[in-house]
């Protein structure tokens, strides 16, 4: 119930700013699709299909990550350090778990919308992924875990600038390296091993496998579940410690 109150507030603002949010989320995917799908990708064949079919699941993965991370991380960090609106929640008789869950679910909703935007654009550009329930389940899980990571970052970094730094050092490398634009196993072995541990690698892998009709890689789902549980747990612990 408390969790719903936190979520309700986020959705109130989300509804109000929906069109702005949507149009802003359109810009970078269109650029990615033009650059990598049409421009660079025209002459590349990967895994026996067109590069566009290869890259669309990757871009969906990276969008799900960045949108949900930023959707919780940036406003929460602002509300903790600048607007101080976080105090209202910290003083209120609301459990830390409910607070975190509400914020994370709200970030997940935004991430899902972000991912959906890419899917629709990808279809318009001519990609033909197979999209089913599991595809959305993996996207949901990805959004959830990165929204939780957003809470962790927002509650720990000491300034707005460090929030941007966190994004640059953690989110940006994953966006490029985790099997989004190319297969990670073509990289040197050490690098590939590191990348294999990162959550987004499993998102791209699972989404691509599902989109290509080769089924659901269960291990990837378990890895994502483990990350989601861990980040949620850490986020709750940090918020509890803050009050």
């Amino acid at each position: 119930m408390d969790c719903y109150t936190v979520f309700w507030r986020e959705m109130l603002v989300f509804k109000r700013t929906f069109w702005k949010f949507l149009s802003a989320r359109l810009v970078s995917p269109v650029l990615y699709l033009v650059a990598f799908g049409w421009g660079l990708g025209r002459s590349i064949r990967t895994d026996g299909g067109s590069y566009l079919d290869f890259v669309v699941p990757g871009i969906i993965a990276l969008s799900a990550m960045t949108v949900s991370f930023n959707a919780t991380g940036i406003p929460l960090n602002m509300s903790r350090l600048y607007h101080k609106t976080l105090e209202e929640y910290l003083i209120a008789p609301v459990g830390s778990f409910s607070f975190v869950l509400g914020k994370v679910l709200a970030g997940t909703v935004r991430g899902l919308v972000g991912a959906l935007v890419i899917l629709v654009l990808g279809l318009l550009f001519g990609a033909r992924p197979e999209v089913g329930v599991w595809f959305f389940a993996v996207v949901f899980l990805t959004c959830f875990l990165f929204a939780a990571l957003g809470v962790v970052a927002a509650m720990t970094v000491p300034s707005h600038e460090d929030m941007a730094n966190f994004s640059t050092f953690v989110i940006l490398p994953m966006a490029f390296l985790c099997g989004t634009f190319f297969r990670a196993d073509v990289l040197p072995e050490v690098v590939a091993d590191i990348i294999c541990v990162l959550p987004l690698t499993h998102t791209s892998y699972a989404l691509r496998s599902l989109a290509g009709g080769t089924g659901l890689p269960l291990i990837s789902v378990f890895v994502l579940l483990a990350y989601a549980a861990a980040f949620l747990g850490i986020a709750v612990w940090i918020v509890r410690r803050a009050r």
Binding site: M1, T5, T85, E88, I91, A92, P93
Partner: protein, 279 residues
């Protein structure tokens, strides 16, 4: 209603609040008066659980603040020094969010919102975004929000800082009115007039310590009810007397530029600390 026992807060090697003991009765308007950095805000933050005390304990409505956290939350309303309203929501939505966070039933929530919007005279702007409000309107909305769940104790941290004199007077009226409705008020201020005009009792804080406690009249009585201001080599000297007669005799012995007036809390502060509140 509030009982503070040995509350202490260290920030590294700096002691912000030093062994504070204080009892505030039900129905009181109590003011913590002191210059910036005296430890007033830290005290309020400890009482509202936003800062962990280094030592000591505090009871609100019989519950210890740290041990009975969950119970205390429902008993207190907090108006912080800075504006911490949700600027992306309207006035009504801010109150609605607060009501939901405090688990008020929908019907009561709606009734209370209308009541409070009228109380702080924001009913005409209820559905506008808070980001469009003036400073005074935001302050009033913060008061309404803090009262939303009918707390028995209200904390006001510098409620009128940065407000024009007219708006300040309206805030005072609001505080008096809610106090008449049974709310115990603990406020901090560095405005002497505010403490004099509003508070039943005043505690003067200086460098983290409570250095005087009493009604404004008692405190003035203690240092002398009349003050003679005289120019002494370019500096103003303040001499205090218990009676008007003594003050007159002293003033008569001086040459020119002499003012006799009644003591203010400012004089009390100067007498106790050797400084002015604004320093």
């Amino acid at each position: 209603m509030i009982e503070i026992r040995g509350l202490t807060k260290d920030y590294g090697r700096i002691r912000a609040v030093d062994n504070l003991h204080l009892k505030i009765e039900r129905g009181e308007i109590f003011g913590l008066l002191g210059p910036n950095g005296a430890g007033k805000t830290t005290t309020i933050r400890m009482l509202t659980m936003l800062t962990r005390p280094t030592a000591g304990e505090a009871y609100i409505a019989g519950y210890e603040v740290r041990r009975d956290l969950a119970r205390v939350r429902g008993e207190i309303g907090v108006v912080p020094q800075h504006i911490n309203l949700d600027q992306e929501l309207t006035a009504r939505e801010n109150l609605e969010l607060h009501g939901r966070l405090y688990k008020m039933p929908p019907a009561e929530r709606r009734r209370r919102i209308e009541e409070l919007l009228a109380f702080v005279e924001l009913d005409g702007r209820a559905d506008e975004l808070v980001s469009t409000f003036s400073g005074g309107m935001k302050r009033r909305l913060m008061i309404a929000r803090a009262l939303m769940h009918r707390p028995r104790v209200l904390f006001l941290d510098e409620p009128t800082a940065g407000l024009d004199p007219q708006t300040r007077r309206r805030m005072w009226d609001l505080v008096r009115q809610m106090n008449r409705d049974g709310v115990t008020v603990l406020l901090t201020t560095h405005y002497i007039e505010e403490a004099e005009a509003l508070c039943h009792r005043v505690g003067i804080m200086h460098q983290g310590r409570l250095i005087a406690l009493g009604t404004p009249a008692e405190l003035k009585e203690r240092v002398g009810r009349y003050v003679v201001e005289s120019l002494n080599g370019g500096q103003t000297a303040y001499t205090l007397f218990a009676t008007r007669e003594e003050a007159l005799v002293f003033a008569g012995s001086l040459r020119d530029g002499v003012v006799i007036r009644e003591t203010s809390l400012e004089d009390v502060f100067v007498q106790l600390t050797g400084r002015r509140v604004g320093d």
